[in-house]
C-alpha cells in the first residue's frame, strides 16, 4: 500500500515545479534557520551573517551556564515545563475525545430543535477573545479553588479545543453510515463492543487527526495557561513568554523556542506514519 505513493513520487517534476515546491518549503522552514544559529551563538550582532562568537567558545569562561547548557539545566525549568505541557495536552485530548464523540454522533445523525443554535454556541469560544474566557474562568476558579491547579488548566484548555474536535468528529461520523453499527448490533455486539470494535476503528483516521490537533492546540495555549496557572504551573509556552517578554532574544531564548516546537513535530511524524499504515493501509479511506 505504501509503495503506491513512492511510485507516484518518483515520476519526474519539471524544473519549475521543483523550484516552486522548494520555495514554499523554504518559506515555511526558513525562519527556523536563524533560530537554530541564534541558539548556538554567544554574540550575534546586526549586520553580521554569522555570529561573531559561538557559545562553545565561551563555555567554562562564564559563571552561569550558557545557551544549550542553560536550556538543559535545572535553572531553565524546561523539563518541568515540558512534562507539564505533555501531561496537560494528553489529559485534555483524552477528556476532549470522551466529551466530543457522543456529541459529534448526535450532531451528525440526528435532527432536533435548537441544533442550529447549539452549533452557533459551540463556535463561540473561537470568536470570543481568549482573554475574555480567561478572565471569566479565573473569577470562577478562584472561588472554586481551581486557580493554579493542573485540572483548572485542563478545564480551561477544553474550552477552545472542544469546538474543533466536535467539528472534526462530526465530519467523520457523517461519513460513517449507521449500517455498520446496526449490523454489529444484530450480530449480538453490546454497545461497548460496538464502540471499541467497530465505531472507533472505523473513525480512527478522524479521531487521530482530531486528537493530534487538540494536543497541538493545547500545547500552544499561552494566555489561558498564564491566567489560570497563576505562575504555579509552568508550561512550555508560558516559560517561553516569560523568557522573551523582556525583549532579549539570546541563545537560551532561541533554544527554548526550539524545544517548544518539538512536541508538535514529534507527534506529527508519529501520527503521519500511524495514519498511513494502520488505517489507510487496510484498504479504506483511499
Amino acid at each position: 500500500m505504501a509503495r503506491r505513493e513512492d511510485i507516484a513520487l518518483t515520476s519526474r517534476l519539471s524544473p519549475f515545479q521543483r523550484i516552486y515546491l522548494l520555495l514554499i518549503a523554504g518559506f515555511i522552514v526558513g525562519p527556523f534557520l536563524p533560530l537554530i544559529i541564534q541558539s548556538l551563538a554567544f554574540r550575534w550582532a546586526w549586520p553580521d551573517l554569522m555570529p561573531g562568537t559561538w557559545w562553545m567558545q565561551q563555555r567554562g569562561k562564564s559563571a552561569i551556564p550558557l545557551a544549550w547548557d542553560y536550556v538543559l539545566s535545572p535553572y531553565s525549568h524546561i523539563w518541568e515545563a515540558a512534562i507539564n505541557t505533555v501531561a496537560i495536552g494528553t489529559t485534555v485530548t483524552a477528556i476532549c475525545l470522551v466529551i466530543c464523540l457522543p456529541a459529534a454522533r448526535v450532531l451528525a445523525r440526528e435532527r432536533f430543535r435548537g441544533k442550529g443554535a447549539f452549533e452557533f454556541f459551540l463556535s463561540l469560544p473561537l470568536i470570543v477573545p481568549e482573554a475574555a474566557i480567561g478572565m471569566a474562568l479565573l473569577m470562577i476558579f478562584i472561588r472554586l479553588g481551581l486557580a493554579g491547579s493542573f485540572f483548572g488548566i485542563v478545564i480551561a484548555h477544553l474550552i477552545p479545543t472542544i469546538p474543533y474536535m466536535v467539528r472534526m468528529l462530526t465530519a467523520v461520523y457523517q461519513g460513517l453510515g449507521k449500517d455498520f453499527e446496526e449490523q454489529a448490533m444484530i450480530l449480538g455486539a453490546r454497545p461497548m463492543q460496538i464502540l471499541f470494535r467497530v465505531t472507533l476503528p472505523m473513525l480512527l483516521p478522524g479521531v487521530v487527526a482530531g486528537a493530534l490537533f487538540t494536543f497541538l492546540v493545547s500545547t500552544n495555549i499561552f494566555l489561558l495557561t498564564f491566567f489560570l496557572g497563576q505562575g504555579k504551573i509552568i508550561t512550555l509556552p508560558t516559560l517561553l513568554f516569560a523568557k522573551i517578554s523582556g525583549g532579549t532574544l539570546d541563545a537560551s531564548a532561541a533554544g527554548i523556542t526550539l524545544v517548544v516546537t518539538l512536541p508538535g513535530i514529534v507527534l506529527l511524524l508519529i501520527t503521519e506514519r500511524f495514519i498511513k499504515e494502520e488505517a489507510f493501509g487496510k484498504g479504506f479511506g483511499n
Partner: protein, 349 residues
Amino acid sequence: MTQVELSAVRKQFGGYVAIDEIDLDVASGELVALLGPSGCGKTTTLRMIAGLERPTAGEIRFDGKDVSEVPVQDRNVGMVFQRYALFPHMTVERNVAFGLSVRGLPKAEIEARLDEMLEVVQLQAFRTRFPAQLSGGQMQRVAIARTLITKPSVLMMDEPLANLDTALRGEMRRFIRALQQRFGITTIFVTHDQVEAMELADRVAVIFNGRLAQYDTPERIYRRPASLEVAHFMGAANIFPGRLVARDRIETDLGLLECTPLAGMDVGATVHAMLRGEALEMTTEPPPAGRQAIRGKIASRDFFGASVTYGVRCGSQQVTVTENARRMVDVGAEVWLDIAPEHVWLIRT
C-alpha cells in the same frame, strides 16, 4: 426453527406513514419474499422484525411470543444489508467470526465454526483478505457467512442480489436457495424484482404503499392476482375491462369470454379479465369447433431469443402473446387465439 408473525403492524416516522397496517405470517423454515416498488416499506418491515425499528402499533411475535421488549442483540436474528456493511477494517475471517467473538465463545470453538462456515461459502482462500479486496459476489458471501455463523432463528436479506451482475445473480440465487434448504432457516428477503421473488420464494408478499396487497404462492400471485395493481406489477399485459353476464361469462371488448368463476362476484358486476400472454394458444388455422377462439392479425413481433412476443390485433383491441421461439409467424398473418376458460382470470375493480 422460528415462526414469525406480524399482526396489525404500523410504522410512522413523525407524521409520515411508512407502513399503514401489515399482517404477515411466516411459517417456520419458510422462504418468503417481500416484493414491492421502491419506497413501499419493505426495508422498514425487515428493520422492525430485526428490532432496529419499533412498530408504532401492532405486535411482532416469534413462535407466538411478543418480541417488542427484546433488544436487537437478543432476538437472534440475522440480517444481510443491501450494501453488505462488511467491516472494512477486518479481514474476511474476522468479519465472519465477529458474531461469535462478541459472544465470548472459546477460541477453539470459534476457529472450528469459522472453518466450517468458510467452507460452506467457499471462501477459504480469501480468509485473510480485506473486504476492499473482494468482488461483489465474494463480499455478499462473506456477509451471508457472517450472519449464518451465529445460527440465527430468522434470516433476513435486503435486496441480496441487487448489486450483482446478471450471471452472478443467477448463481447467488441458487446458492441462497441451497443454503436456506440446508439450514432450514426461516428466511425473509426483500426484492423489487418479480422474477427473483417467484424463483426463490415459497410465498410472496406483495406490498404497495405500506399495505399488504397479496400474500400467496408465486404461482397464484402470477396467475391469480387479487388486484389490478398486483397484476400490473407482476407484468400482466392483457387486461380487459368487462361485465359479468353470467357466473362464468364476461362481456369484454374482445367479445364474450368464458372464464373461471370467482367466488363472491355477482352477475352484472364490472370486472377485469386477465389473459396471461403465455397461456394463449395461437394457431394459424382456425381451431376445431367447440373451442373458444378469437380471430386476429399479427401487428408486431419482438424476438427475445428463447421466446417471441407478438402483438395481435383483435378488432379494436391488442392482445400480447408470448410463445416459445420454435416457430416464427410473420407480421400481418391471420391467426386465431385459443383461450382456455381456466386461463381467463377475473379481477375485481
